[in-house]
């Protein structure tokens, strides 16, 4: 009986020693970090449409337009956007215009210009789009709460028979200071 008690006492003291040893000889250091952002980055595509029964397909900031020129006249499209955040935005376009049947072939009977505007047309730029991706050399600047947009002018050449053409494009928004 005495032997049993001694064993129990020994075990209890062993547990005490282990706990004290663990607490005294080890510790975990923890650092908690927090990052806060007090600005917002938000560009909204507010509208997009074409005339001449032509459809513009929009997915996020990427869009495409198929033009067949069957009416032998220009086709006009518009994409409008707004800077709903608190950061200035730099806006560019990356677009290619090609024959629908071959992305490596120029559309033989038409040319397309994309005009950009921002801040009530005080800042605009344009570029002639070819079969390879093309960007504006001078991107637009869009201030917070300002609206902007692009006009796409598909120009039909009456000297050539109509041919279906396609525009693939993406709007590129980058953040600027302020």
């Amino acid at each position: 009986m005495k032997g049993k008690k001694l064993i129990i006492l020994f075990l209890v003291f062993a547990a005490c020693s282990l706990g004290i040893g663990y607490a005294a000889l080890s510790t975990t250091l923890k650092i908690n970090g927090t990052g806060n952002i007090d600005t917002t980055w938000k560009i909204d595509i507010t509208n997009y449409y074409c005339n001449q029964d032509t459809t513009i397909t929009m997915s996020g900031t990427t869009f495409n337009v198929a033009v067949d020129f069957s009416n032998k006249s220009d086709t006009l499209c518009t994409v409008a956007f707004k800077n709903s955040g608190t950061l200035k935005a730099k806006v560019n376009i990356d677009a290619a215009f090609y024959k629908s049947s071959s992305t490596s072939t120029d559309c033989p009977n038409a040319t397309v210009w994309i005009y950009g505007w921002a801040n009530n047309s005080s800042n605009s730029t344009s570029v002639t789009i070819a079969k390879t991706k093309t960007q504006w050399s001078s991107p637009l600047t869009l201030n917070p709460n300002e609206t902007g947009g692009i006009y796409i002018n598909f120009r039909y050449d009456s000297q050539v028979d109509p041919t279906s053409c396609k525009l693939d494009a993406s709007l590129i928004f980058n953040q600027l200071g302020g």
Binding site: I31, G33, T34
Partner: protein, 165 residues
């Protein structure tokens, strides 16, 4: 009589054991900025300092602060590319050498935050008595294009376990 004494002794030992276990369980979240413990026990203390870098121009500079007692840092960022970096210096105020039993590990931060850790504390880093070692936590505001930040606040937790050599 003997039985009574035995019961009293056992009760006291169990009480001490329970207190010790509770202390051990809570030791990972105890303040670490404690004074030296004469005669034994791990003692580490922190000091820290912060700096910032500005990403895009044209707005207020970012800020970064740290608290060596609470073991926290906070970075307030305005522009993409802004960052705040805090350097924590760990001082071994024990009477013996201590070693990190695992490398410094940190949780990840969600977009648009990018956390960078200067891994000067690796597994088996040994700090002599009164010696120091440092590590840095950098929180940056990632540059974005069309995507919007999923959150305007992000957190990171870094930890490193130490033990006596």
């Amino acid at each position: 009589m003997n039985n009574k004494k035995t019961i009293i002794i056992m009760t006291m030992c169990i009480a001490v054991a329970m207190m010790t276990i509770v202390y051990a369980a809570l030791s990972s979240s105890l303040k670490v900025n404690v004074s030296a413990t004469p005669g034994g026990g791990i003692c580490v203390s922190y000091t820290c300092s912060c700096s910032t870098t500005t990403g895009l121009t044209g707005a207020a500079a970012p800020s970064a602060t740290c608290n060596a007692t609470a073991n926290t840092m906070t970075a307030t960022l305005h522009q993409p590319g802004d960052s705040g970096t805090c350097t924590f210096t760990v001082k071994n105020c024990s009477n013996f050498r201590i070693t990190s039993s695992a490398a410094l590990s940190c949780t990840s931060m969600s977009s648009p935050f990018i956390a960078t850790i200067d891994q000067t504390i690796n597994k088996s880093t040994i700090v002599a008595k009164n010696g120091t070692t440092t590590f840095k936590i950098k929180i940056a505001y990632d540059t974005l294009t069309t995507s919007q930040p999923s959150s305007t606040s992000g957190t990171i937790t870094c930890s490193v376990p130490w033990k006596q050599v």
